[in-house]
Amino acid sequence: MPDSGPSSASTFAVVGLFAEPEAIIAAARRIRPRKLGRLEAYSPYPVHGLAQAIGLGESRLGTYVMGMGVLGALLAILFEWWTSAIDYPLNTGGKPLFSWQAFVPVMFEVTVLFATFTAGLAMLFAFNRLPLFGHPILHAKVIGQITRDRLALSLERTGPGFDTEQARRALLESGALSVETVALPSFAEPSLRWLLRTVAGIVAACLVAGVGIYLAEKLVPVVPPMIHMHDQPKLNAFRPSTFFADGSGMRPAVAGTVARGHLPFLPKSPEEAGRILVNPLPLDQRVAQRGRKVFDDHCAVCHGVVGNGVPLLSSAYGAKPANLLSSDLRGRPDGYIYGVLMLGKNAMPSYAADLDADDRWAAVHYVRILERAEDARDEDLP
């Protein structure tokens, strides 16, 4: 039976059996220089020197892993730099946007991810030729002996130049106990049809799993879907709560709290305000601009753009807005104008809710500027 081997074209390899490690190493050394085919060895236990004897070089896997590991590190730092410094800059504790220290753990993880996936996938697909599920040697009759107590040296067919007879003779001459010709299994080369069917199967499995889980969640809501931050133990404003003694979920401000830009206003009349308040804003270009904007937006509609009490709207409105350039107002302190803005006067309502403190003081400055502009002299011209 072992001698009735198939013809060269459908041959995978010619396998010779050996009993001793020394014998197989000697045979490999003899056959290797003759270049009869690709030399491969099988052994149930590690044999030192056998790898060198069949000319097995260093695996290229390490180089692939190193290359992909470095690529992973570079991609990770590029990605972290782009997300945290370019696309969505987020200040974290005042640290620089590009904080390499914080990026190192992610770089490390991505390096390991790329390296291990390369090691696993390259081993399976590039070196173990994965779509090939069974190595042809598994169909040899000697496989039972190879996995028990015999060593095997095989000459694999590399092309049309491979001569089965020559390989058999070479193995027998080198001391093989017996020789077997192993045929190429029929499924050795995966067809396009097989590959397409496999891919279609994987896609179908993903679809079934995804749609199935979606429908299961929808139709049989045994496991409530995670709705993230909506459901969590928290106190809502304007909602009752049993946690606090007053039964309210909202906390009142601590007594004496002063919000930024909302200093309490204590005077009872503009006159009192004029006595106790001084303008805290130093006058500069920026404050003057701001005062002009506040005045034009809120005051000019009644007091006129230059503050002379001639309203922009029809005088049919009825009220008589004050002339801000009058000598009476010129004689009053800044705090008086501020007090009028806070408390209102005659038909003028309070602007306490519409403006903040700095806006009001800027407007007071602007009123003074308008008064000064009324008295402009020749030398004021640029």
């Binding site: 030192h48 260093e58 390490g62 190193m66 504790g93 640290k95 220290q101 914080a102 190192v104 753990p105």
Partner: protein, 385 residues
């Protein structure tokens, strides 16, 4: 293997000259630039030489602990380098004179510092000295047991010693890890007593292991190149490269973890110590340290071809040893201000390098180059990966 190698007289005389010159320079340094810089240098060299010696003693005990065979033919090398321990412990005893200069917690102002008052149960002079003496006693006892015992076994061929050495390895590990942590906390992080890091003992251990494996590898390859270890082959020292690679990664992991946690939390009492060491003139020193202690040896040793190539391995070990020295310098010297390496540092380096090499030359003549009395030697020589 019992070839007696007579050391050249010239080399010995050169070392004596180095020690004399260095000693004179050191004395001049003490008198002119002041005691603080002198004692900082003294501490630097004491710790550097001690960690070299302890790292090698650790490797000797580690072999006993795990029952390794492959390292037995090379074990004389770490046993000989471990002979730096008596020298370094003597340096530490002398360094007790410099404690008031080096450590701010010994000064009277410390009584007004609430942090130091809270730490005074640990940081007080009597306890400090007792701790040092206990550590030194333990190190010397284990050194005598492992190194002298192994030398005695050359003649007695007593198998009982191998059994005892293995039995004492677990207690050695416990004592070693406690004592190296005490050394780290007392003599290095104690320089800035307000600061603390839980990781610091492990940090010094990682550096010690790395210094140990690098000096052992360098010693093995030097002896190989001089033909003194003809039975040791590539398959033996290949493992030293593997251990060196593993522990540069371990060191980098510990060092970075400590740095990143402190950087991230940004607590003022923790961050000052790090900030002093990565900003200003110390930034380039820290970067050099990272390269010499991690990047250079890591990329040299990661491939199997690199670990087989003696020249590559020697460059990697020299990088690690220089990195370890810079590491100790980087830990101690920022307390004095900006990085400085002038004539006081150079002369103290000459003094202590001279002393260390004199000590190592003497140790190289003790016993055979192979532990001929060890019953595991034959197995170790035959060992295959």
């Amino acid at each position: 293997m019992n070839r007696s190698v007579t050391p050249s007289r010239l080399g010995r005389n050169l070392l004596y000259a180095l020690v004399l010159l260095g000693g004179a320079g050191s004395a001049a340094a003490y008198l002119t630039v002041g005691p603080q810089r002198f004692w900082a240098n003294w501490l630097l060299w004491a710790i550097f030489l001690l960690t070299l010696g302890l790292g090698n003693l650790f490797l000797v005990a580690l072999e006993r602990l795990v029952g390794a065979h492959w390292s037995v033919p090379m074990r004389r090398v770490p046993e000989r380098i471990a002979s730096l321990i008596p020298l370094a412990t003597t340096l530490f005893l002398v360094a007790l004179l410099g404690v008031p200069v080096l450590f701010s917690w010994t000064r009277p102002e410390a009584a007004h510092n609430p942090i130091l008052v809270a730490k005074s149960a640990w940081l007080n002079l009597p306890f400090f000295v007792v701790r040092l003496l206990l550590c030194i006693g333990a190190w010397l006892l284990f050194y005598r047991f492992y190194v002298h015992g192994s030398l005695r076994q050359d003649k007695s061929r007593d198998f009982a010693f191998t059994v005892r050495a293995r039995r004492l390895a677990p207690p050695f590990m416990v004592v070693f890890f406690f004592s190296i942590s005490i050394l780290a906390f007392d003599w290095i992080s104690g320089l800035e007593p307000e600061w603390y890091s839980d990781m610091f003992g492990v940090y010094l251990f990682a550096g010690t292991f790395l210094a140990g494996i690098a000096s052992m590898t360098l010693g093995v390859l030097t002896m190989l190149r001089r033909g003194r270890l003809p039975q040791v082959e590539t398959r033996h020292y290949y493992n030293l490269g593997t251990l060196g690679l593993a522990f540069t990664v371990f060191y980098a992991y510990i060092a970075f973890a400590q740095y990143m946690l402190i950087w991230y939390a940004n607590l003022p009492e923790e961050v000052v110590w790090v900030q002093r060491r990565v900003t200003g003139g110390w930034g380039p020193v820290a970067l050099t340290l990272a390269f010499l202690h991690f990047f250079v040896p890591f990329f040299l040793l990661i491939g199997s071809a690199g670990k087989r190539n003696q020249t590559v391995v020697i460059i990697a070990t020299l990088s690690i040893l220089l990195g370890h020295f810079i590491d100790m310098y980087w830990l101690i010297f920022p307390e004095l201000g900006a990085p400085r390496f002038g004539w006081p540092e150079a002369s103290m380096a000459a003094l202590f390098l001279g002393l260390a090499f004199l000590r190592l030359r003497a140790a190289m003549q003790r016993g055979a180059d192979l532990p001929v009395g060890d019953p595991l030697l034959a197995k170790g020589l035959e060992w295959q990966p």
